[in-house]
Symmetry: C2
Subunit: 102 residues, 2 copies
């Protein structure tokens, strides 16, 4: 796996490599769920309707620090997004596909 990433990066110019890293990191701004919902201009009520639960349940979900992957996926999908589970290692990143086809 390490070899693959290394080869890929070796084919890029230093400038392209730098830009890639900058873009990559900027793409991944961190946000808690409730802020992400607000960024999508959605209320807890709207999301609750889409998930077929009540507003209090959405509020509770947004305060959780752990939940089932399927629960999180439903929440993200109700906002129009897709959940991706990534494992980051010193030599690269891999998308975990066990949970991809629920």
């Amino acid at each position: 796996m390490a070899k693959k990433f290394a080869e890929l990066e070796a084919r890029m110019s230093p400038e392209a490599r730098e830009q890639t890293q900058a873009l990559y990191h900027q793409h991944l701004q961190e946000m808690p769920l409730h802020e992400l919902r607000k960024a999508q201009a959605l209320s807890q009520e709207t999301l609750a309707k889409a998930l077929n639960i009540n507003q209090a349940a959405v509020s509770k979900m947004e305060r959780r620090t752990d939940m089932y992957i399927s629960t999180l996926r439903n929440y993200i999908q109700a906002m129009g997004g897709e959940l991706e589970i990534i494992a980051t290692f010193p030599d690269g990143q891999v998308k975990i596909e066990n949970f991809a086809h629920k």
Copy 2:
């Protein structure tokens, strides 16, 4: 959010943009958990010891299609990786930070 990504991409040359996307997508190869473990040259037994569970429990975990985020994080960390939860929208990606500090 859409504006931010658009601005960022607008500052890049078409070549850099193309390379970025190619690298980004190639970085994210998909893999199920058991293949990821093998790619790290780890056996179920080794991982079981690191997680303080038995080998059968690791085997069972690798066959699950849903689990708690904390369970998955422990598994990834035992392999020397870090779990990242990403929400992908048509206009960009956001890292979900609710689960980041367990």
